[in-house]
């Protein structure tokens, strides 16, 4: 990205936008969670993001990785439910990928490290009806758009948001096999997963923030412009 000062400004703006969005959707997220969970996702995440804002005070001169690490640490200390270790722990772990600043390459590494920690900590796979169902297609689409399709980061992020949205829709028809919803068995079917939903809100706000700083097409969907190579193994190298 640009100079460190613009980078900091963009990161702070992104955090503020995410916090405002979570505050606005607090009731909706908690409603989703009362259908299939313990009815605290909206309030927990909102409390966590308010604590993030507090913890970031005085960090205006910090480097990108430290800002993002602070976000993760605040979430994990403040949120008593699963979103603390999942959002917070994964963000903390992935923040080290931004040690040399925010670039197309470092954000791909961040996204991959986030997903890796998320799956390691929560033990969920795609199809378990958790935030993994939203994060996985977003991360895969972002990585492929940058590394294979050479798209500008803003367009790659727009595609990732669309992929995430499809992942959120996918959770509706699934029977939960991880998290509190799994105790409900078949009763969990027909409800949208709250964690997947908040993931989409976060990514939508990151995209909205990035639009102010980057050039690129955001009127796009997750479908790929490329025709798959005959030799997918070779193409991945």
């Amino acid at each position: 990205m640009a100079d460190p000062e613009t980078e900091r400004e963009a990161l702070f703006e992104a955090v503020e936008n995410v916090a405002a969005r979570i505050a606005a959707e607090k009731g909706y997220l908690t409603d989703l969670d009362s259908a299939i969970g313990d009815a605290d996702h909206g309030t927990n995440l909102d409390r966590g993001m308010q604590s993030v804002l507090d913890q970031l005070e005085g960090k205006e001169e910090a480097d990108a990785d430290e800002i993002v690490k602070t976000v993760g640490m605040a979430l994990i200390s403040e949120v008593g439910g699963a979103s603390g270790p999942l959002y917070g722990g994964s963000t903390m772990h992935a923040s080290q990928e931004l040690a040399d600043g925010v670039t197309a390459e470092s954000t791909v590494a961040f996204a991959e490290a986030f997903l890796e920690k998320l799956q390691d900590r929560g033990g969920a796979e795609v199809g378990d009806k958790t935030m993994v169902d939203a994060v996985t297609p977003a991360v895969h689409t972002y990585k492929k758009s940058i590394e294979e399709d050479d798209l500008p980061p803003l367009e790659a992020l727009a595609k990732a948001v669309d992929a995430c949205r499809r992942g959120v829709d996918f959770t509706v028809g699934l029977r939960a096999s991880k998290g509190r919803a799994s105790y409900l068995g078949w009763r969990s079917v027909g409800h949208q997963d709250p964690g997947a939903t908040s993931t989409l809100f976060v990514l939508e706000e990151l995209l909205a923030t990035a639009e102010a700083y980057l050039e690129g097409d955001t009127d796009t969907d997750a479908s790929s412009p490329t025709i798959p190579d005959d030799d997918p193994e070779g193409a991945a190298e």
Binding site: S77, P85, R180
Partner: protein, 130 residues
């Protein structure tokens, strides 16, 4: 000496499980209980888990953690990583009450090790009640 840490979403539940386990663990048992989120509501707090682990490790060479639901386990795992005590603290994959009871009995043995206590806790998953 192997210590035990009971982690529940409810502070009351954690204390209750500890009290029941203490009956089996003898006078020297080192068992702590943490539960509730930072506001005392239902949930768990990484900070509380970390300080309980530090206290236990001051008087025991290892600690077996027995937790209730998902985020209690995740927060315990995070606390272990944050403290860098992966070699001396393990999370048992065990039902919280029966696991804590078994672990308290195992920890009272003079030859108890981190592994023997964890194994006994995990065997509780196979306990038949009726």
């Amino acid at each position: 000496m192997v210590g035990l840490l009971v982690v529940s979403h409810s502070a009351d539940a954690a204390r209750g499980v500890r009290d029941i386990a203490l009956e089996m663990g003898g006078a020297d048992a080192r068992i702590r209980a943490v539960g509730g989120d930072v506001d005392g509501g239902i949930g768990t707090s990484v900070t509380d888990i970390q300080s309980a682990l530090s206290d236990l490790l001051a008087e025991a060479e290892g600690v077996v953690v027995i937790a209730d639901l998902g985020s209690a386990v995740m927060n315990a795992e995070h606390a272990i990583e944050a403290l860098g005590v992966e070699d001396s603290v393990v999370v048992a994959d065990a039902p919280i009450l029966e696991g804590a009871l078994n672990a308290a009995v195992a920890a009272a043995s003079p030859s108890a090790t981190l592994e023997s206590v964890r194994e006994m806790a995990e065997e509780a998953a196979n306990t038949s009640k009726v």
